[in-house]
Symmetry: C2
Subunit: 224 residues, 2 copies
Amino acid sequence: MDIGSLIFDDMDQIDFTGPFEVLSRLPGSSYRVYGVTGAPVRDIRGLTIVPDAAIADAPPLDVLHVPGGQGVDVLMENEEVLAWLRKQSGNVVLSVCTGALLLGAAGLLTGRRATTHWASVHLLPELGAEVVDQRVVVDGDWVFAAGVTAGIDAALTLAARLHGDEVAQGIQLHMQYAPEPPFDAGTPETAPAVVLEAARADMAAVTRRRLTTIRRIVSGHAHP
Amino acid sequence: MDIGSLIFDDMDQIDFTGPFEVLSRLPGSSYRVYGVTGAPVRDIRGLTIVPDAAIADAPPLDVLHVPGGQGVDVLMENEEVLAWLRKQSGNVVLSVCTGALLLGAAGLLTGRRATTHWASVHLLPELGAEVVDQRVVVDGDWVFAAGVTAGIDAALTLAARLHGDEVAQGIQLHMQYAPEPPFDAGTPETAPAVVLEAARADMAAVTRRRLTTIRRIVSGHAHP
């Protein structure tokens, strides 16, 4: 089984590294990491990761993994990337965080039940998707994770679907994944109001720009 | 504040990338990643990460982060790395997974309350540490995480200690860290017996070799 992740500048690295930790341990599979080119990629906080190859050199993938982060905004209008996503999304797809927006920009979310990062969830219907208010959403052969760390839960869900519960549980045990967050602040519903307000203010400009981009893309689809 | 992670070949990448996701978002701080040399590092599953610099070029760190993984076994007898850890561990230390064994090999765990990956926890007393059966153990200015993904919980705990609860909660909300593992199999106590047995068998050789290494190191300390 060929598993491949798309990585790109200004992604949120754990959208990628969380699922990598899980899926790279699936038996009998090859996991490779693809950049838009073969050059190293810098995540939004400055972590440098080296892809195994450029997307142009990827074989047909059995599992396509698309992480998110601010870098999706540029890629949503990169025709080479969008064409590659269309070509590679015929089997199993794992969408993490705002990776869903990128898949949507490729026209792949029409009619899908999906989710994404809490701050971008209102953008999904613009791309034809139906939002499901769950941390992990399974829609046929597609698995969608909500924001960032939800990718770990989604990847374990996918591992179980592909190889059975015991394989997924073995990976979970290796990862000692029995989380105990020190606070209950991981969702807009549970975060203290002052923390939520600051986060929303922080993201307002990005989210507004993203809506403009999405509307431009969608109107482009309608009137080519 | 200067934050630095040690990265090395055959580490378990999420021991590093989990805390990076949290600590790289602390306000007013610089986070850099150090390799034994400046060369790219390959994690145990093949992910290639580029350090910002070699350990020899690191400034005095305010926060030292040490991940784990099978690569610690070689580093436990690397005098350059051990000397660097001794020099850099005077302020705040975040130990994740079997990073604790490396710190122990440097002679830094004597009398400390600590934890590590569940499969190596019996090795800590050999290095002079007292094992505490918690996912995150705080001992003065040191924070210890149990295995792998416990680094995320420990890093959030550390973020709150350094910058207050609201900063840590803001980072948690950004990461949408409200975990929902699909199984309750993340510890030896909760994993199905067959899964635990397979994991133990898988790790038996590594763990035995590790014990031999540690006894050699400790006897070297005693009779220099």
